[in-house]
């Protein structure tokens, strides 16, 4: 038995697959991410191979592999799968130990969770039925405005007079945005309007679980500065984000994998 247990967390999301290798559930050894694409099983296997390559390890070095995300059941050779809600709670706690609320905005779903002092989820609300309030909404916006998704956050920060986007549906919002452009509204104002629209959707979920400091943002949209600003504007509170925030699900899986491993070895 190794003195330092290595666990991997693989988060197979609708847009991106994230993988991490952790030592003793406390230190990040390596991480990797890639686009999920149409085949989640392949994405999971590739993300694991990639993180092992970055860490200079092999599968045999890993004591435990936990998968999460919508494609978690497709992860071949996993030791266990854990829901993304549980993992994001743990992952947010790992990044910001004083976290009590977690907002997770992914490509196809958004969730608000309230967690206790141990990172356990007390209450959660989610929308995974439609693209309103999720990353795909911004993809549509970027398409309609012919700008890169990666640039949207920066563009939105230049806004002085955000445009109200009244359509909730991503597809209908696209047409609405085209009308705003025709009417001469500034791109940055429209983009900020879109971020505020997403913020409104997820804050509505957050209010249902109860708002409590500190609030941590996880998921793919955590890397978007405009999203952070929109949330802070609407919520009137500081939002925790870290450069690794989008990895929170995989971090949580690796941490929980380690907890599970300890129970198993303790029992043995």
């Amino acid at each position: 038995m190794r003195s330092l247990a290595l666990t991997a967390g693989i988060d197979i999301g609708a847009g991106t697959t994230k993988s991490v290798v952790m030592e003793d559930g406390t230190r990040v050894v390596a991480k990797a991410s890639l686009r999920t694409g149409p085949n989640p099983e392949k994405a999971g296997a590739e993300a694991l191979a990639e993180v092992l390559r970055v860490a200079g390890l092999t599968r045999a070095d890993l004591a435990y592999v936990a998968s999460t995300g919508y494609g978690r059941y497709q992860m071949a050779g996993r030791d266990m799968q854990i829901t993304e809600i549980t993992c994001h709670g743990r992952g947010a706690r790992f990044l910001f130990p004083a976290t009590h609320c977690v907002l997770d905005i992914g490509a196809q779903s958004s969730r608000a969770m309230r967690i206790d002092g141990n990172g356990r989820v007390v209450k959660f609300k989610m929308n995974d039925r439609c693209a309103a309030g999720a990353g795909r909404f911004l993809e549509r916006v970027s398409k309609a405005l012919e700008v890169q998704v990666a640039d949207l956050g920066e563009i939105s920060l230049r806004s002085t007079d955000p445009t109200t986007i009244s359509s909730i549906c991503a597809v209908l919002a696209e047409s609405e945005i085209i009308n705003h452009v025709t009417e001469g509204r500034k791109v940055e104002d429209i983009v900020m309007g879109a971020h505020l629209s997403i913020a409104d959707r997820i804050i509505a979920l957050l209010r249902q679980v109860g708002v409590e400091d500190e609030v941590t943002l996880t998921g793919g949209l955590a890397g978007n500065v405009g999203m952070v600003k929109a949330l802070e504007t609407r919520l009137g509170r500081h939002i925790n984000v870290a450069p690794e925030s989008s990895f929170a699900g995989s971090y949580g899986a690796a941490v929980l994998g380690h907890v599970r491993l300890q129970k198993l070895t303790g029992a043995a």
Binding site: P38, R129, C130, I168, C169, A170, V171, L172
Partner: protein
């Protein structure tokens, strides 16, 4: 006397020119695009041209559809719900339930004997189950909106489409394609999914025969088939179904111009002509 009805929809604009005997003498349909006023003007002019008339010869114009207040030459505006009910009552007098599937919304309307509205229900909050939904599916499959209905009819093993959101359905279709599923089976599933949503909406107003299907999506044979299957009854559709709102608007225009109460007169010949030359009663569903 001549009147016109102009239906400015989210996706297509339709115009009808009608004579005093309620005969459709000119019609036009084109995409609305970015300029609502431009589209209304263009379709009105085209319909006038087909009728061989000039604008001054039109006594009354009723605008309908989401852009009805922007019809610059309109004398009055009537909601598209009233116009569809009125148009359906004219073409299919026994219509009691109306399903209107347009570019960006779906409506279920309970219609009275005189083409009056008993109840209605609509989805205009999201693109699920609308023309936009079908368009997105067509695009993902590399087909046009006009092709998908026919392709779907070739299906022998319809797939179940589980997503409601248009954006998510695109991904679902991509994964079905990746698994090697057949395009016709995917499309049948798409049409069945929309039929399911539409019928759920119809149930909220109550389904009573006859059922008439209007709006741009009613041109899609696959959609007609899926709706029939789901409703387990015949459905009235005609080549004029897409023009139903404009037709209703023109009928309101006549009533306004003549100041006669709604549903007072019915002219069988005009009905037959509007249906595309068929005798009244020869059409399905009676």
């Amino acid at each position: 006397m001549h009147v016109a009805g102009v239906d400015v929809g989210s996706t297509a604009t339709k115009a009808i020119v009608m004579d005093g005997n309620r005969r459709v003498v000119g019609k036009a349909c084109g995409s609305t695009g970015a300029s609502v006023v431009g589209a209304a003007n263009r379709m009105f002019q085209e319909a006038l041209k087909e009728a061989g008339l000039e604008e001054w010869e039109i006594e009354f114009v009723v605008g309908t559809g989401y852009g009805r207040y922007k019809v610059p030459f309109g004398h009055a505006q009537v909601t598209e719900i009233s116009c569809h009910a009125r148009g359906a009552n004219f073409l299919f007098p026994h219509t009691r339930t109306l399903v209107d599937i347009g570019g960006q919304d779906t409506k279920a309307i309970a219609v009275g004997e005189r083409g009056d509205i008993r109840d209605f229900c609509m989805n205009d909050k999201c693109a699920a189950g609308t023309g936009r939904f079908l368009e997105a599916c067509a695009t993902v499959l590399g087909l046009t909106l006009d092709e998908i209905g026919d392709v779907s009819m070739r299906s022998s093993k319809p797939l179940r489409i589980t997503n409601v959101c248009t954006v998510f359905v695109e991904s679902e279709i991509v994964s079905h394609l990746a698994k090697g599923e057949r395009i016709e089976d995917i499309l049948r599933g798409v049409h069945n999914a929309i039929a399911g949503r539409s019928v759920a909406l119809l149930r909220r107003v109550g389904i009573e025969p006859e059922v008439t299907f209007t709006g741009g999506v009613s041109r899609n044979l696959g959609m007609v088939a899926s709706l029939k299957e789901r409703l387990q009854c015949e459905i009235n559709v005609s080549p004029m179904s897409q023009y139903m709102g404009a037709l209703g608007a023109a009928l309101f225009a006549i009533e306004r111009a003549e100041n006669i109460p709604p549903g007072e007169r019915k002219i069988e010949a005009a009905v037959a002509e509007a249906r595309g030359g068929e005798e009244p009663g020869a059409h399905g569903g009676h």
